[in-house]
């Protein structure tokens, strides 16, 4: 048995696109640019990156929806080009914001329909559907029409659909996008439980939620402009930010933060405005450097509401590697 659930070598995927204002030359867009990755069986693997980084293209190649332009990809030891049919026997895919199925069916009917596509006999299929609906907290809605479900309920139903055939490898493409906090937490809790229940199972999750990748994944790869720029455990990735100390400081609104980087010992500063307050995320050379920032704020007659020393997060890793925050990279991402 192949111990690698997913294996790619120099995987390249380009798209031919028409000339447009954003691509006046009509040059091919490189979505994946030589991705080499090994994901062992049983691993919960996260692919983290901004919009347009190549996450979805990577998944689409692996689930046999797209052919690679060059390079190779194997899923469960099977070639996604030459053995697509066998690959499809072993996988399942759930995407965020998915509106699959038919609104006039009830939740249970819709799931039964999908179970038939995988050849599940009706009685065990319905028993499994009921069991999974109970687990995700959707059993009471089983007779409700799909068209009447909320976004969160719908995504839970999609998760059940993905799990129905009990795949060896589950591909989750931003499964919690657009969900409210509670629904996203439920989905995360269940997929974590699902993968740990059987060592045969592997999950490849794409997300651009840092905390999701940190909470769920055994290992995380950061993808940027079609390239894997880092790949390790979340803890090991965080250690890459060694050499600095991180603080989050909340203060009254600031006009600009360029001056913060000029404070001795400050290595990097980012700002977010929330609820009329400015949240400064600071990377400083040592703890003492924060005193200079506090003094500078006092000189500007700005009150400080909170100051907290924090562990570096994957977001800090992303900033260090890519040079921009994830949201900024999203804004500059490809269509």
């Amino acid at each position: 048995m192949n111990e690698l659930a997913i294996e790619t070598r120099d995987l390249v995927r380009t798209y031919r696109i028409r000339k447009s204002p954003t691509n006046p030359s009509g040059a091919p867009v490189v979505a994946l640019d030589g991705v080499t990755l090994d994901i062992p069986r049983g691993e919960f693997f996260g692919l983290l990156g901004p919009n347009g980084a190549g996450k979805t293209t990577f998944i689409k190649v692996l689930v046999t929806l797209l052919l690679p332009t060059s390079g190779s990809a194997h899923v469960a030891g099977l070639d996604v080009v030459g053995q697509a049919q066998q690959v499809r026997e072993r996988i399942s895919m759930v995407s965020g914001g998915e509106h699959s199925g038919y609104g006039l069916l009830t939740v249970r009917e819709q799931l039964w329909m999908f179970s038939q596509f995988y050849g599940l006999p009706t009685r065990p299929a319905l028993a499994r559907i009921d069991e999974l609906l109970r687990i995700v907290g959707l059993y009471e809605e089983r007779s409700r029409r799909v068209s009447a479900l909320s976004t969160g309920m719908r995504q839970k139903m999609n998760m059940v659909r993905g799990l129905l055939p009990d795949p060896d490898i589950l591909f989750l493409d931003e499964p919690t996008v657009g969900l409210d906090v509670e629904a996203a937490r439920d989905v995360r809790a269940y997929i974590k439980e699902w993968i740990h229940a059987n060592s045969r199972r592997t999950i490849l999750l794409t997300t651009h939620y840092m905390h999701e990748a940190e909470e769920l994944c055994d290992r995380v790869a950061i993808i940027h402009k079609g390239r894997i720029v880092a790949c390790d455990t979340p803890a090991a990735l965080r250690r890459r930010t060694a050499g600095g100390t991180y603080f989050v400081l909340t203060t009254e609104p600031l006009d600009g933060i360029a001056w913060v980087s000029g404070v001795p010992g400050v290595q990097r500063a980012d700002a977010r405005v929330t609820d009329g307050r400015t949240e400064l995320r600071l990377q400083v050379a040592d703890d003492g450097a924060i005193a200079g920032v506090v003094k500078a704020l006092a000189d500007r007659e700005r009150r400080i509401f909170s100051l907290q020393k924090i562990e570096p997060s994957l977001e800090d890793v992303f900033v260090q590697i890519v040079g921009r925050r994830l949201e900024e990279a999203d804004e500059g991402g490809r269509p």
Partner: protein, 275 residues
């Protein structure tokens, strides 16, 4: 591999086909508006032609021609809107991607769409025939029921084969599916002789429009329903033979176009990505 028991091979194809047919069949019960849109509205058009023939003093059998045409039209509309355009809707809704990575392949999905669509449309067509025949006192003198049913069955197989071909073609062309469907509505109503014997268009025009399976199927069924009085395009058995040929041809073309669509989808990504 999964520890859940699964059927494979032909048994899985049957399960997947029935699974996909289910929403089509159940949908007819859940969305009762079809009673109005799919039965009453086509009947209004049919009734208009009935009164035209009555005003002209045409023989009573022409009323029967029109009602038969109205019933057959329901199948054409089903094939265009719910077969040919279906992949387009499925792409928009995200189903197409899921269908394309199913282990059962996409053929059972199309079979299920066809069977489910056929069952639903059969009820609608029967409703049109019954209501129209009762309203206008039409009588049929069917003499060869097995042959009539055989022609109907072969015509339907050829028609849904054409629908599967169009499903791939519409998607590959990348046009708005409803524009394509509309393009094929009124001209086909005219050219296939839905409201009159196709022979009235002239022999060679009738032969040309016979590429649409309904033309020959409708002409052959009218010959059997109104024996001796229908101006036939070809003898019934020749039309049956041609329908068998069309059925085989459309199934082969459908198979080829499906493979082509799947290949293009994987190579260019144009079916699953919005570049």
């Amino acid at each position: 591999m999964s520890e859940i028991a699964r059927a494979r091979g032909l048994r899985r194809v049957v399960r997947a086909t029935l699974g996909r047919a289910y929403p089509r069949i159940i949908g007819a019960n859940r969305e009762r508006s079809w009673l109005f849109y799919d039965t009453v509205l086509p009947l209004l058009g049919t009734i208009a032609f009935v009164y035209v023939y009555k005003a002209l003093g045409a023989p009573d059998r022409f009323v029967g021609y029109v009602i038969m045409g109205g019933a057959t039209m329901a199948f054409w509309m089903n094939v265009m809107w719910n077969m040919a355009a279906q992949f387009y809707w499925d792409k928009q809704g995200g189903n197409l991607e899921l269908y394309m990575v199913l282990p059962c392949g996409i053929v059972p999905i199309l079979l299920g769409m066809s069977i489910g669509g056929f069952v639903g449309t059969l009820v609608r067509a029967a409703a049109i025939i019954v209501i129209g025949s009762v309203l206008f006192h039409v009588t049929y003198a069917i003499t060869q029921l097995p042959l009539f049913l055989l022609i109907f069955a072969v015509g339907i197989i050829a028609l849904y084969g054409l629908g599967v071909t169009f499903a791939s073609v519409f998607l590959m062309w990348g046009r708005e599916a409803w524009h394509m469907a509309e393009l094929f509505m009124e001209p086909v109503f005219l050219a296939s002789g839905f409201y009159f014997p196709v022979r009235a268009l002239g022999f060679w025009v009738g032969m040309g429009t016979s590429i649409i399976p309904l033309t020959l199927a409708l002409d052959a069924m009218r010959q059997l329903l109104f024996p001796g009085s229908h101006p036939a395009l070809l003898p019934v058995r020749a039309e049956l033979g041609a329908l068998v040929g069309l059925a085989v041809m459309f199934m082969l073309v459908a198979r080829w176009s499906l493979r082509k669509m799947e290949y293009l989808a994987r190579r260019e990504g144009r079916l699953s990505l919005r570049f």
